[in-house]
Each structure stands twice: as structure tokens, then as C-alpha cells.
């Protein structure tokens, strides 16, 4: 039985490949449009999803590095933060840990401009300690110094909005924790050491960085949190499972939890794009089906003859289904090669398109000079490739199932 299957496979492959490559009856032309369709669709998928991944990763990455961290750990009161950090640093996932506190307040400049802000208390050496933080933050002016509790670094837009510059004095108004009452208003004059930008207005409008010692003084009853940076953000679930077991850890919030609405919106956007692009492949599959139906019909005589000499109908159906598989494989390989090359060089391509449009029409747009981040996720390409292959096999099967109903004697009589 095994030997039969092998020899059956041999003639099926031989025959299908012969049909597919034979130029005598225009099979190449039958296959050309579906191949182009699959390749073009796949190229579009790779470029669009690549850019979406790049933007998504870039955006989330910036948020993680500057604001949310990969995880935030709320610790139990009376826990030795230093020791806990040491334990966390010794887990396989953790790259670095940082103590931090956050507080909302109002910032007022000497010229009267004021605005609500998010005050983030960080270790004084954060800029050298956390390379990711330093990398994502662009210093507009000054130097990132929060060595003393009198120094503050302002978000670029926040500084502009209140009219504060480097070395100017600003006044911080917060509701701190009192010894006898819950909240007491606290005013603190500080000197601006730097203006920084993240590229995201919603952060740059609000953020200011201070030495954590200042917030510890303002919030003596509040236990600081620990921000966690992981080696691999995808390992967050594994880390959370391990971290919650550690003594002194009250709760752990992952970067997905912290940015859930944004993350969900980005994923929804991505899946929506997948659905739209999937429709391209449905159209291609319909094209494969109708093309293969024509091929099957034009080979009716061959089917009748091969049935007469002992080919089973299932094997004959396989011969034609393989045509669909060849189409899919060629389309996928072409799409992969061109798509990946295009995605990697998409910014150069946009520049070229911009240049051509400007040359031909005189119209210029900043869009074409914008640098898009691209991230290609091999797993996604594998899933899409398998999806195209399955869809092609299904379309091919729909086209050739009629073979099972063919009666060789009727075909040979009618020819």
C-alpha cells in the first residue's frame, strides 16, 4: 500500500508538473494572473503589516521605555525596596529595575503660566542607569539633571505652555500627605535643568521628571513602585507569573494591562487590515477556481483517457489541485521576496515616489519624506503564507471536484 502511494505520488507529480510547465496549451498564461494576484496581495500584506508593526512597536516601545515600563510592581508596605530589586534583578527575564513614584500636580512659571502636570519621581542617575529611557528621550535644551530635589526636567510642550526655559524657576503645587491630615498643599520652587521630548504630544504636554527623594518627602506614607525592564517584552506573561510569587510583591501590572486601550486599538487596527487584505486573497482564490475549472474542462479528454488506463479519480483530482498549489507557492515565494525587499526599503521607495510626483506634477508632500519604522514578524508571514496555501487548495478542490463525477466512457464517446 505504501509503495502504491509512492508510485501514485510519482506520476501525479510528474503529470501535474508537466501540465503546469507545458507552454503548448497556454497553462502558463492560465497561471499568470493568479500568481500575480497572490504575489501582489502578499507584497501589500508584508509592507502594510510591516509598517503597522513598526509604528505599533515604536509607539508602545516609547511608552514602555519612558512611562509604563514592561511591568510595574506595587510592593507591600514595610518591604525593603533595595532587597526586592535585588531579587527581581536575579530573575532570568529582568534587565533592570527602577524605583519610582508618580504624582499629579500643577506647575507654574515665574511669568504666571500654569498647567496641570504628571510628576514622575525617578532615581537621580536614571539617565545613565536606563539606556532605553535615555535613548527614547530627546533633549531639546539643557542637561537631564535631577541630582537634587530642587531640579526638574520638563516635557517640551509643557515648558512651552507655561513659558519656562532652562535655568528658569518654576513652582510645583501638589497635594502631599500630611502627618495629622490626609492631604496638605505643598509648594516647591524648582529650577528647570532641561526640556525633553518623546515625540508624543500627550506625554510631552504633561510630564515632568524630579528626583524621587522629593516625592518621598511629599508622600511619606506612599510606598514607591518598582518599574521593570525586561530583556524580551514578549516574555511578560512568564515574568508576571514568576514575580507575583516573590515576597513583598503586592501586585504586578504588565505593559499590556497598562496600555490596554492603546494596545487593543492597535491590534484591532491590525486585524482589520488583515481582514481587508484577506479579501484580496479571496478574489485571487475565485480567480484560481475559475481558471482551474477551464483547465479541467480543457483536459477532459486526458482525464477520460487516464481513467481508462487505470488512474483513479482522486489521483486525477490531485493532479489538478497541485496546479493550484504550484500557483500558491510561486505567488507566495515571489510575494515574500519582493515584499520583504520592498518593506525594508520602503522609505527609499517613498522618497523616490515623492521625487517622481514632484518632478512630474510639481506637488510635494512631507508624507513621502516621513521615515516609517518597519518590523517584519516571521510568524505573521508564516501564518499568512499558510492561509494563502490553504485558500488556494480549497479553491482548487472546488474547481476539480467535478472530476470525481466524470465517466470516462461518456468523455471518450463525446470526444
Amino acid at each position: 500500500m505504501q509503495e502504491n502511494r509512492v508510485t501514485d505520488l510519482q506520476w501525479i507529480l510528474f503529470t501535474s508538473f508537466k501540465y503546469f510547465t507545458s507552454g503548448k496549451n497556454k497553462k502558463i498564461r492560465f497561471a499568470t494572473f493568479p500568481i500575480i494576484g497572490i504575489a501582489a496581495g502578499f507584497i501589500a500584506v508584508i509592507i502594510i503589516i510591516g509598517i503597522m508593526n513598526g509604528l505599533q512597536q515604536g509607539y508602545l516601545n516609547d511608552l514602555i521605555e519612558i512611562d509604563s515600563y514592561h511591568a510595574r510592581i506595587t510592593i507591600e508596605p514595610d518591604t525593603d525596596v533595595g532587597k526586592l530589586q535585588e531579587v527581581l534583578n536575579n530573575t532570568q527575564f529582568v534587565q533592570n529595575t527602577f524605583e519610582f513614584l508618580e504624582l499629579e500636580g500643577v506647575l507654574r512659571s515665574s511669568n504666571g503660566g500654569s498647567q496641570p502636570c504628571l510628576i514622575k519621581g525617578l532615581p537621580s542617575n536614571i539617565y545613565t542607569l536606563d539606556s532605553g529611557f535615555a535613548q527614547e528621550l530627546t533633549i531639546s535644551s539643557g542637561n537631564f539633571f535631577i541630582d537634587s530635589i530642587d531640579e526638574v526636567v520638563l516635557g517640551r510642550n509643557l515648558a512651552v505652555n507655561i513659558g519656562a526655559g532652562v535655568n528658569s524657576i518654576v513652582e510645583l503645587l501638589v497635594l502631599g500627605e500630611g502627618k495629622t491630615v490626609n492631604f496638605v498643599p505643598i509648594e516647591k520652587k524648582m529650577i528647570v535643568t532641561s526640556k525633553v521630548g518623546t515625540g508624543y504630544p500627550e506625554i510631552d504636554d504633561m510630564i515632568c521628571f524630579v528626583n524621587i527623594s522629593l516625592l518621598k518627602k511629599m508622600l511619606p506614607k506612599t510606598v514607591p513602585q518598582i518599574g521593570i525592564k525586561l530583556y524580551d517584552s514578549e516574555k511578560i506573561n512568564d515574568f508576571v507569573k514568576e514575580a507575583v510569587k516573590i515576597d513583598g510583591v503586592k501586585s504586578v501590572e504588565s505593559w499590556i494591562d497598562l496600555n490596554r486601550s492603546l494596545y487593543s486599538a492597535l491590534m484591532l487596527e491590525k486585524y482589520s487590515m488583515f481582514v481587508i487584505l484577506f479579501l484580496v486573497f479571496v478574489v485571487v482564490a475565485i480567480n484560481i477556481k475559475s481558471s482551474l475549472e477551464r483547465v479541467v474542462f480543457s483536459h477532459k479528454k486526458d482525464i477520460g483517457l487516464m481513467t481508462a488506463v487505470g488512474a483513479t479519480k482522486k489521483n486525477l483530482a490531485s493532479v489538478f489541485i497541485l496546479q493550484g498549489i504550484y500557483i500558491a507557492i510561486i505567488g507566495i515565494v515571489l510575494g515574500l521576496i519582493i515584499g520583504i525587499l520592498s518593506a525594508i526599503n520602503i522609505n527609499q521607495i517613498f522618497l523616490l515616489i515623492g521625487f517622481l510626483i514632484k518632478t512630474l506634477t510639481g506637488y510635494s508632500s512631507r508624507f513621502f519624506s516621513y521615515s516609517f519604522p518597519v518590523k517584519i514578524v516571521p510568524r505573521e508571514l508564516i501564518i499568512v503564507s499558510l492561509g494563502i496555501l490553504c485558500l488556494s487548495i480549497f479553491a482548487s478542490w472546488m474547481a476539480v471536484r467535478k472530476i470525481l463525477k466524470f465517466e470516462p466512457v461518456r468523455i471518450l464517446h463525446n470526444e
Binding site: 506520476w11 496549451n25 487516464m306 488506463v309 488512474a311
Partner: protein
């Protein structure tokens, strides 16, 4: 393997085909047309018979039925030691593959394959490896005198040459029985004689049983027996 061999009867050393009370009718509108009416037929192993008759008298239908391509209304067919009227579709396919070689009026060569590949693929369908199939195919192409045209596509061959390839194809799987349906029907007289002599010569060489349907009375001289199918029954000296 499958259960195909279970259908095999006790081997008959002398009978290649035995048909008993075979009946086949077609419905044409309201009219029932009986083309074969309780036909009996016997062919000895290694012998040849020519069946003649008017167009539409049922010659080809008879041939297709003993080749397992068509089914009878009633009666039984024993061919190559198998009762083929009791075989299901899959087993009939196996039977055709191993025991029957068809030659049709139209050559029915695969247009996308060269002459040699037409033989190779037929042999591969029968479960042979490509190398072995090629070896057998080359030997048969030599037998039919087309060794120089093995790489020609059917469209590059003359009618006679195509039919010679079809004969070689019918023999490639070493079948017990060759069924030829007007193999010279589309050829001129000169080519017809060549094909007929070649076919009968090869059948004799390889000791095959041959049933040949034709309008050509010349062929009856080459066969051991000639039957006339008329009004649904055979007339002749069986």
C-alpha cells in the same frame, strides 16, 4: 493491497474473455434501444477477433463493457480471470490498469506530453518507477518504429505515427487483453495497412488477446475470427 484479487476466479488457462447473456439498452426519448441482446462471446487466450457491424450497432459499447468502462444491464463478463460485472468502480480501475490495453479511433494521446512521456505516464499510473517505465517505453517505441520521434509531441506526429504511439501505450503495462476501437478509422488506406499489420504483429509477438472493432474488412483477414454485430447479436462463426 486491496481486495481486488478476491474477485479473481479460478484461473482459466484457455479463456481470455467469456461473455454470457450480455444485454445493454439505451433510452432515446420514449424509445428503448437495445444494442446488445443476450450476447454470448468467448475469446481464447492469445487469439484475436474482429467485430464488424454498422455504425451505432453497439460494437464500441460491447468493447467498453468488456474493458470495464461501461456497465451492462444484465449478463456476466469474465475477462482476464475476473468477473468484471461484479467489480466496483475502484476495482474496475485496478482491473483496467493491470489487464486491459485500450486503443481508440482517436489516438487520445496526452497533448502536453511527448510520445515517450505518453507511454511513461501510463506505465507510472500502473505503479512502475519512472526509470523502469522509461526503459519499457523505449523498447516499445522501438517496436513501433518511432525511436527517432520519442521527444515529439502528438501535434508533431502524423496520424499514423500517433496511432503507433497509441498501440505502444496499450502494450506498455503488459496487459492480457488489447481492446482496439476502430484504430484505423481516421487513417488513409496505406497507413491503415501499416497500423493493422503492426498491431497484429505485436499482439502475436507479445501473445496478447485482441478484440478489434472496425469497419475495415481488410482486417478480418488478419484476425483468427470475425464476428458481425447485427440487431444486438453476433453473427459469424464463433
Amino acid at each position: 493491497m486491496n481486495n481486488f484479487n478476491e474477485e479473481k476466479l479460478v484461473p482459466d488457462l484457455i479463456t481470455a474473455i467469456e461473455v454470457k447473456n450480455l444485454t445493454k439498452s439505451y433510452i432515446n426519448g420514449t424509445e428503448i434501444l437495445t444494442v446488445l441482446n443476450s450476447v454470448n462471446f468467448t475469446l481464447m487466450k492469445g487469439s484475436s477477433v474482429v467485430i464488424m457491424g454498422k455504425s451505432g450497432c453497439g460494437k464500441s459499447t460491447f468493447l467498453h463493457m468488456i474493458g470495464g468502462l461501461d456497465s451492462a444491464d444484465s449478463g456476466s463478463i469474465f475477462a482476464a480471470d475476473h468477473q468484471i460485472d461484479s467489480l466496483n468502480s475502484d476495482k474496475l480501475t485496478q482491473f483496467r490498469k493491470r489487464h486491459i490495453g485500450f486503443i481508440f479511433q482517436m489516438h487520445y494521446l496526452l497533448e502536453d506530453f511527448t510520445a515517450l512521456e505518453n507511454l511513461i505516464v501510463t506505465s507510472m499510473i500502473n505503479g512502475n518507477q519512472k526509470n523502469k517505465a522509461k526503459e519499457s517505453a523505449l523498447a516499445l517505441m522501438k517496436d513501433v518504429g518511432l525511436l527517432s520521434k520519442i521527444n515529439n509531441y502528438p501535434g508533431q506526429l502524423s496520424g499514423g505515427e500517433r496511432q503507433r504511439v497509441a498501440i505502444a501505450r496499450a502494450l506498455i503495462n503488459d496487459p492480457d487483453i488489447i481492446l482496439a476501437d476502430e484504430p484505423t478509422g481516421n487513417l488513409d488506406e496505406e497507413n491503415s495497412r501499416i497500423i493493422e499489420n503492426l498491431l497484429f504483429g505485436l499482439v502475436k509477438k507479445y501473445q496478447k488477446s485482441l478484440v478489434l472493432v472496425t469497419h475495415d474488412s481488410y482486417i478480418s483477414n488478419l484476425a483468427e475470427e470475425t464476428l458481425i454485430l447485427q440487431k444486438g447479436v453476433f453473427k459469424g462463426d464463433l
